[in-house]
């Protein structure tokens, strides 16, 4: 793979640009030369006298106004590489089916050499670059019409584009695309881009950066990338500040050709904002006790669904399902899973320290009428959330006791200092040693301490150690 690639004619014989062959008549060659010259003029603005480009003596002014031997450089290099293609210090990578580099290297790459050689010179010897002709460049536009306008035929334009792609320079690709955008009809440009993925992605990115939303949507449509188009249009909502307008915009998005899943999500988005606007309007002036006790810190607009659910569990708990702001309604509208609902409601009610509500979240009655606690999430998770909301020990203990696995129960109890549970567990395990150790961690004469003391003195327990 590391062989130096000999100059081959493969590209010229096999590619669709057959017209451009070296052994063809001079006309083609001069066309190619022209393309090169034009590309050079992107960088070298001051090239009104192209004919003497092989002369070193003429001072050149680069893009930024610095004198460089850009053109002469490129030509010399090109000449030498034709003569002895294999004498390179580093070989080319043998790239698979991409465009042959020969044709492109011929004109475009050489243009770089000029430019970057310039760069190197400037970096290492800044004094070499005296901005003699500063004013001159300033008045000339970067790549004024005359430079690229010579490329009139579609074939020439595309050759230009393909050459830019072949030297991997995104900057150059974009420059050519900008020219094509000006000089080709949308339909033709889109059509040609379809077969040119690299160029296409540059074009899309350029349009995004320029904020040309409308054209972008047209392009996606022309390419048949309807889902991308839909998402691109949907993205616009982020730029709309006013919530009413945003809601209306989202509504207008509902008909876009999203994928089936995404369509549901966008529908949810619209419904959510619609609800939020209603809730916000009424809560802003609400004077219920809860709003006075815990004033709202921020508006609920544009918050995620779960945050909205939390908000509703916090401020609107117990409202009937008929109201938009009730937890039950939100849960149903957005198809929230039981697990998710329990976790959110638990957080909100624990924050308010309404332990009764917490209890009833988990209470289920069995057929005999006994209440039993059941949870779709592990009770250790429940304890975790309760603890983070600083639940008192007795509440914590109740839930720690519900943890199934004895090991997990013990470790959670240890973590949150639920002494009773720890002590009882050790007692059940008949682990005298651990009890003794645990006793040392407790305050002397605390009830727990005394409890261990009693247990240790109890002769009826048959300790295992």
């Amino acid at each position: 793979m590391s062989r130096a690639k000999p100059e081959d004619d493969e590209y010229w014989n096999s590619s669709k640009f057959k017209a451009f062959t070296f052994d063809d008549d001079d006309d083609e060659f001069s066309r190619l030369k022209e393309s090169k010259r034009a590309m050079n003029s992107i960088l070298v603005v001051d090239d009104d006298d192209d004919d003497d480009e092989e002369e070193d003596g003429v001072e050149r002014v680069s893009w930024s106004g610095e004198p460089v031997g850009s053109i002469s450089w490129s030509v010399k290099e090109t000449a030498s590489s034709i003569r002895s293609g294999s004498e390179r210090s580093f070989p080319k990578i043998d790239t698979t089916p991409s465009l042959s580099k020969q044709g492109s290297g011929y004109s475009l790459s050489s243009l770089f050499k000029g430019d970057l050689y310039d760069t190197a010179v400037r970096t290492y010897a800044p004094e070499l670059r005296k901005p003699k002709s500063d004013g001159k460049t300033e008045n000339t536009s970067l790549w004024s019409a005359f430079s690229l306008e010579k490329f009139r035929s579609l074939q020439d334009k595309l050759l230009l584009l393909d050459e830019a792609v072949a030297v991997y320079d995104g900057n150059l690709i974009t420059a050519v695309l900008m020219y094509l955008k000006k000089s080709l009809s949308k339909e033709i440009l889109f059509q040609e881009l379809m077969a040119r993925d690299v160029a296409l992605r540059h074009y899309v990115h350029y349009l995004k950066e320029m904020g040309e939303q409308k054209l972008l949507v047209e392009l996606m449509k022309a390419l048949g990338r309807t889902e991308d188009m839909a998402l691109m249009q949907y993205k616009e909502h982020l730029n709309i500040k006013d919530e009413g307008q945003r809601r209306d915009f989202l509504k207008s998005c509902l008909g876009l050709p999203f994928s089936q899943d995404d369509a549901t999500h966008v529908q949810d988005h619209y419904t959510l904002l619609e609800r939020q606007i209603i809730i916000e309007a009424s809560d802003k002036k609400a004077d219920a006790e809860i709003f006075k006790k815990f004033p709202r810190k921020a508006s609920i607009l544009n918050m995620p669904i779960i945050t909205t659910l939390y908000y509703s569990c916090f401020y609107h708990y117990g409202e009937s399902e008929g109201t938009y702001s009730s937890p039950a309604n939100i849960r149903k509208t957005f198809r929230i899973s039981e697990k998710q609902y329990i976790l959110t409601a638990l957080g909100a009610r624990a924050k308010l320290k309404s332990w009764f509500d917490v209890d009833s979240l988990f209470n289920t009655k069995n057929w005999l009428g006994y209440t039993k606690k059941r949870s779709p999430v592990g009770f250790h998770r429940v304890v975790d959330i309760l603890q983070k909301n600083s639940a008192p020990v007795n509440v914590l203990q109740e839930y720690v006791n519900l943890i199934d696995s004895p090991e997990l129960k013990l470790s959670v109890a240890l973590k949150y200092k639920c002494h009773d549970i720890v002590i009882n567990t050790y007692r059940d395990l008949k682990d005298r040693q651990e009890l003794v150790v645990y006793r040392e961690k407790l305050e002397r004469d605390s009830p727990e301490y005394r409890k261990i003391q009693e247990l240790l003195n109890n002769v009826q327990i048959r300790w295992k150690n």
């Binding site: 130096a4 930024s64 970096t123 970067l142 899943d261 966008v266």
Partner: protein, 615 residues
């Protein structure tokens, strides 16, 4: 400690030269503008600039300000903008110029783009009718040396532009950076690489080299390795547990310096600290697994105490000598020690709060492909509880890459829950992640495996292998599991791993995983090419290369230090964990690695670059 300098280490080239070159050019450019002027600096350039030219050098400009999109009071009639070539910024400047025109103010404007101009930016000036009023220039500031062995292009946008948008605007920039290194420090004898971008960068660099004057000086590096970030997404998505990586994850190291808040400094002030090899305490712990750091620091503290204690029983003369020679050093060390102890404490606190152990356990299970259902449940609860949006996304991506995409029903349900928890606009983020292959729904993949197993019963193993190959080449898959097996990235579970005495690069992830990127580098250097790794490269979607410089054959024979220095260029960013792993590898193999990266990255930066949830 594992990573103190070893005796035989080859010396590293002096990279401060790069800073000097960049500074000289900047000063030259600024001096081109006569008179006093207001200088505006792109916010993103403030830190890098600070590292090469402290603000006193810019004093003659009198007024500097970082560029944010607001209007300023202007003192002078000459404005100079030092910016990255971004269309948005140029638009903003154009608006400003046009506003001046309307108000009848006459000023001169100059934009200095760094590291280079883009046509698109200049065209904006033209379109806005200010071309000519505004002149432009380039400051070719390609490389910022962050440390003795870390060089950064400071282009975080490289990642998104190149890999997500498919815009190759930075390819020549990377090529030019290599060209710069080569011009200053001599040529390389061998170049290896993997990835589409790596190939392009190499080509671009080669084009540049062919034409520049061939320097015949002794090379200072032997080998270069170019690697695309998208070759290995797993590594940057893992939680970092070596000290430097952890500091980066939690406090965000910016341009080699970090701001420690009041919780670390135990005062009411924040302190900005430079983190590099100059910091003697830091340089000893930066590559260590976090679990070793506490012990090390407390030992250090004890030693320090003893050193201080020497004062006791000293006579005046000795005391004088002590104060003159040692005290300053001790004080310095004292300051650094208390800082790093404070940082470690604060990190411990943060990590306990977020149940770090459980998180790590999940990550390790994913890497190992073990108890995936439990992992999914964990991720689900993570999402349900609205814990860190980025962490949830990170785990989802890790799950998808290691499992070659999610089962359709899992993908849908997790995506729906994610959108519920963090906002529906993340639809756009999911589209981005899907495009990059970071978070995908298994397409027909399940049926493939089913088919394989069915076919497997009918034909012998060899054929199945071939069939599998054919199938996997159909879809662009991450193939992580197979790669991991092939390259032995995940050590067998159950084996004790002594983190104090690391035995391989896996120590940077608690012995659970050897970074894929670093493993590739190790293998290629060992084999001096890709021979024998055909299957691996195929699973990585090919694009590998290895080339030898023709002209340097005579130099290659001269066995100098330089032959043991390897330059590794990460295109799209690299993490501190990877740097630590390479330092370890270098020590094992008796060579030194110099890391060139487009930017330092970590899981948060990587994913944040792909978010699309705000305007």
């Amino acid at each position: 400690m594992a990573h103190t300098e070893w005796k035989d280490a080859p010396g590293l080239p002096d990279f401060s030269l790069l800073k000097r070159l960049a500074r000289d050019q900047l000063i030259f450019l600024l001096e081109q503008l006569p008179g006093k002027k207001d200088l505006f600096i792109d916010a993103d350039l403030m830190s890098p600039l600070d590292r090469i030219a402290n603000v006193t050098i810019l004093k003659f400009c009198l007024y500097t300000s970082s560029l944010k999109y607001t209007y300023f009071l202007f003192f002078f009639c000459r404005l100079c903008f030092l910016i990255r070539p971004r269309i948005q910024t140029v638009k903003w400047i154009s608006d400003l110029v046009n506003a001046d025109k309307v108000a009848g103010r006459f000023r001169r404007y100059k934009i200095i783009f760094t590291p280079q101009k883009f046509y698109a930016c200049e065209t904006v000036l033209e379109e806005q009718g200010v071309y000519g009023d505004v002149t432009t220039d380039e400051w070719n500031f390609y490389i910022l040396p962050l440390d003795d062995d870390i060089l950064s292009l400071e282009l975080p946008e490289f990642f998104r532009d190149n890999f997500l948008e498919g815009d190759q605007r930075w390819v020549t920039t990377a090529g030019s950076a290599l060209r710069l290194l080569q011009s200053v420090y001599g040529s390389f004898s061998k170049v290896y690489g993997i990835g589409r971008c790596a190939k392009m960068v190499y080509e671009s660099w080669r084009e540049l080299m062919e034409d520049g004057e061939q320097r015949t000086r002794q090379p200072e590096f032997a080998k270069v390795f170019l690697v695309d970030r998208d070759v290995d997404f797993v590594t940057p998505l893992c939680s970092q547990v070596v000290y430097e990586g952890l500091v980066d994850d939690l406090f965000r190291i910016k341009c080699g310096s970090v701001e420690f808040g009041p919780d670390v400094t135990s005062s009411d002030k924040s302190i900005k600290v430079m983190l590099n090899s100059q910091d003697k305490v830091f340089s000893e712990i930066r590559n260590e697994h976090f679990s070793n750091v506490f012990g090390f620091l407390s030992q250090k503290a004890k030693n320090l105490q003893t050193a201080y204690d020497k004062r006791r029983g000293m006579d005046i003369q000795q005391m004088k000598a002590f104060v003159a020679d040692e005290l300053k050093g001790l004080k310095q060390e004292h300051r650094l020690l208390s800082l790093h102890i404070g940082a470690s404490e604060s990190m411990m606190k943060k990590k306990t709060k977020q149940d770090f152990q459980e998180l790590l356990k999940t990550e390790h299970s994913l890497l190992e492909g073990f108890e995936i259902r439990e992992c999914i449940t964990y991720i689900e609860e993570h999402i349900n509880r609205q814990v860190s949006m980025i962490d949830s996304l990170r785990l989802l991506c890790l799950l998808s890459i290691t499992e070659n995409g999610l089962l359709s029903k899992d993908y849908r349900s997790l995506k729906a829950q994610y959108l519920q928890s963090y906002g529906i606009e993340h639809l756009l983020t999911f589209a981005n992640l899907r495009q990059l292959g970071l978070l995908e729904e298994q397409q027909a993949g399940e049926t493939l495996t089913v088919m394989e197993s069915k076919v497997g019963k009918l034909v012998n193993d060899k054929t199945v292998g071939k069939l599998t190959d054919a199938f996997s080449s159909l879809a662009k898959k991450s193939n992580f599991r197979a790669l991991s097996k092939r390259l032995a990235l995940v050590p067998k579970s159950g084996e004790e791993y002594d983190l104090r005495v690391p035995r391989d690069m896996a120590y940077v992830f608690s012995g659970a995983y050897i970074p894929l990127s670093c493993k590739l580098i190790e293998q290629v250097l060992e084999r001096d090419g890709w021979t024998g790794m055909e299957e691996v490269t195929r699973m990585l979607n090919g694009q590998e290369f290895a080339v030898t410089g023709g002209s340097s054959s005579s130099e290659a024979r001269s066995k100098t230090d330089a032959q043991r220095i390897v330059l590794v260029m990460f295109l799209g960013g690299c993490t501190f964990s990877e740097i630590s792993a390479l330092r370890f590898l270098g020590k094992e193999r008796g060579c030194r690695f110099i890391v060139v990266t487009t930017a330092i990255t970590n899981s948060s930066r990587l994913l944040e670059a792909l978010l699309d949830n705000s305007a």
